[in-house]
């Protein structure tokens, strides 16, 4: 191995450590007692405890927030896909002089600072009597997921070779069947990215959730943040446990999606 390769590998390992160490530290912190957390010298070895995890899971507010987060995130992602994918396909496959304008408009929705939209949204939902409900959150978030899905799915559909769709047309399929049975599965690699990105964005969304919920519809990020406001003593262990709980669903989702993708395109398992 040459010197430059050793050097390159060292740099890569250092970068990886830089990214992974805080995550590892958070995981360790979730299993530490306060004594082990509040020492001037950080401890790598300690007597692990499940107290933090049990505390977090046993709180009614956490369970409620978890359900809210899952329902709201999943629903808005699904709505984003159902409405965004056909729009993206239409823009990608039937380009017109409006194509670029549509793409830019969709993206420009994301330029708006969330604070600017949060207050009017709050007023709207209050007037409609839907304030602090999952429905209002789902609708609000759907506006975001639709625009993200359109923006990210257009290049995905553009990369589907036109001939494949034409072959399906010659094989007798109409425009809708071509979309569902050919374009959608062939583009799925790229589309999964859109799905994952909008899920993570909604799952972690804080500001709008803070403005639109007070008790019933609170999501995980809100509840997790509230745990740091319990008093003068920051309950680090509990906070770490809450962060783990908050991070797990997106990680699980990404794992599921990538294995699904592998199954779709790679070797035949029966062989």
């Amino acid at each position: 191995m040459t010197l430059s390769r050793i050097l390159a590998k060292t740099v890569l390992w250092l970068m990886a450590a830089l990214v992974l160490f805080p995550l590892l530290w958070t995981v360790l912190g979730a299993f530490k007692q306060t004594v082990d957390l509040l020492t001037p010298v950080p401890r790598l070895f300690f007597a692990p405890t499940l107290d933090n995890i049990i505390y977090v899971l046993s709180r009614q507010s956490v369970l409620q927030a978890l359900i809210n987060s899952v329902v709201v995130s999943c629903a808005s992602v699904v709505i984003g896909l159902v409405l965004g994918l056909p729009a993206a396909y239409a823009v990608a496959r039937y380009p017109s002089r409006w194509t670029e304008e549509i793409q830019f408009f969709v993206l420009s929705l994301r330029f708006l600072p969330p604070v600017a939209t949060a207050i009017p949204l709050m007023v709207i939902w209050l007037n409609l009597g839907l304030y602090d409900s999952r429905l209002s959150l789902i609708i609000t978030y759907s506006l975001m997921t639709i625009s993200i899905t359109i923006w990210l799915a257009i290049p995905g559909f553009q990369r589907v070779p036109k001939e494949i769709e034409e072959a399906a047309r010659v094989d007798g399929y109409g425009a809708y069947a071509v979309f569902f049975r050919v374009a959608l599965p062939v583009a799925s690699r790229a589309l999964i990215g859109a799905l994952a990105f909008s899920f993570v964005l909604i799952w972690n969304e804080f500001l709008i959730a803070l403005m639109l919920t007070t008790s019933e519809a609170k999501t995980m990020p809100i509840v997790a943040s509230e745990m740091s406001q319990l008093g003068m003593n920051v309950p680090w262990g509990i906070l770490n446990a809450a962060v783990i709980l908050l991070s797990l669903p997106p990680v699980l989702l990404l794992g599921l999606l990538s294995s699904f993708l592998n199954a779709l395109f790679s070797k035949n398992p029966n062989r």
Partner: protein
């Protein structure tokens, strides 16, 4: 089995006219090859027959039925694409069966027909694989299988072999020829490769800039090119083309470094007419008699080795003359040589208009 008729077919993209006026009748069972340089509109015409491209004007009919506004699926066609266009997310079996499923064919029947086609094309071992796991040749066979299984009235091939390497291309060419011999399905095949066109076609349609230059059997196109374009396009190595002027009541051709007799009455020549005189390198043979009337002489400055044959060339005026000679008796560079030819091997074209000046009854 079906006849295809194109009548006054016209294609415009906005104001840009790609195909001005295309007329062609493809007979039942015929294997027609559209040949031409890239951008000559051959694929566009094929796609208009397939229904993948709208027809701006004129009429296309398949089997006596005008299909201008019909969807591809209602035209009784099957198509093989240049990049195979297999469905990457389906197994080979599903790729082949996809079209039949749409037609509502029973699963048992699909199984039987897929099995038949797969056996014929030797795809049995890969039937459960995904397209990305197959070689280029296998993928192209799947594409052909997918087209065959619907027992279409018309086969359309859009440069099906151009993504394959030379050896595989020759092999697949043979398979396509054999397939057509067995199935006798009316076929339109697009290519820019004259070897494919020559070997496969019943008739070649040679296109240039959206217009038909010549329609004819491979032999007609090779032996009696109707225009300067056809003469230059067909034949490897390319035909020698020399500018000349008609002299002496149309019985001689004069050019830089040569003055040659012309068989009287064979060509429509007028004295003083500017023409281009063509000779295929293979029609030239070495002669020791430099005084013979039908011969060109010069000093060899290049010998290209081709295997059994060599391409020997020398400068003549501002042009070059090349001859395809047996490799065993080849001259060396610097040798003085004379190449003789048969009088009938002369091709003469009008220099301005490009059309052949050969009398039609010759």
């Amino acid at each position: 089995m079906a006849e295809i008729v194109c009548h006054g077919v016209n294609k415009k993209y906005g104001a840009h006219e790609v195909i001005p006026n295309f007329d062609l009748r493809v007979a039942e069972h015929e294997f027609i090859v559209f040949l031409g340089p890239s951008g000559c509109g051959k694929s566009t015409i094929l796609r208009m027959i397939a229904g993948l491209e709208a027809i701006t004007g004129g009429e296309v009919s398949i089997n006596g039925k005008i299909v201008n506004d019909l969807e591809p699926r209602d035209r009784g066609i099957a198509m093989v694409f240049q990049n195979y266009a297999l469905y990457p997310h389906m197994t080979i079996y599903d790729n082949i069966a996809f079209g039949l499923r749409r037609l509502g064919v029973s699963a048992v029947e699909i199984d039987r027909r897929v099995g038949e086609v797969v056996d014929m094309l030797g795809l049995k071992p890969v039937i459960g694989n995904k397209p990305s796991e197959l070689s280029g040749g296998q993928q192209q066979r799947v594409a052909i299988a997918r087209a065959m299984i619907k027992t279409p009235e018309v086969f359309l091939f859009d440069e099906p072999l151009s993504n394959l390497d030379a050896k595989l291309r020759a092999q697949m060419r043979l398979e396509i020829a054999r397939l057509h011999k067995n199935l006798k399905t009316t076929t339109v095949y697009v290519t820019h490769d004259q070897m494919e066109a020559m070997t496969l076609a019943d008739r070649i349609v040679l296109l240039n800039a959206g217009r038909i230059e010549q329609v004819g059997t491979p032999e007609e196109i090779y032996a009696r090119p109707a225009s300067l374009f056809v003469a230059g396009f067909i034949g490897t190595p390319a035909m020698n083309l020399l500018p000349a002027t008609v002299g002496e009541n149309g019985t001689r051709l004069d050019g830089q470094g040569f003055s040659l007799p012309v068989t009287p009455g064979r060509y429509r020549l007028a004295e003083g007419q500017k023409v281009v005189f063509g000779l295929r390198p293979a029609d030239l043979s070495r002669t020791s008699d430099a005084a013979t009337a039908h011969a060109l002489s010069g000093t060899v400055d290049m010998v290209e080795f081709h295997g059994d044959q060599v391409l020997v060339s020398f400068p003549l005026g501002a042009e070059r003359i090349s001859a395809f000679l047996p490799a065993r008796h080849r001259p060396k560079e610097g040798d003085k040589v004379s190449f003789a030819y048969e009088a009938e091997a002369m091709h003469i074209f009008d220099a301005a208009a490009g059309h052949s000046l050969l009398h039609a009854d010759n």
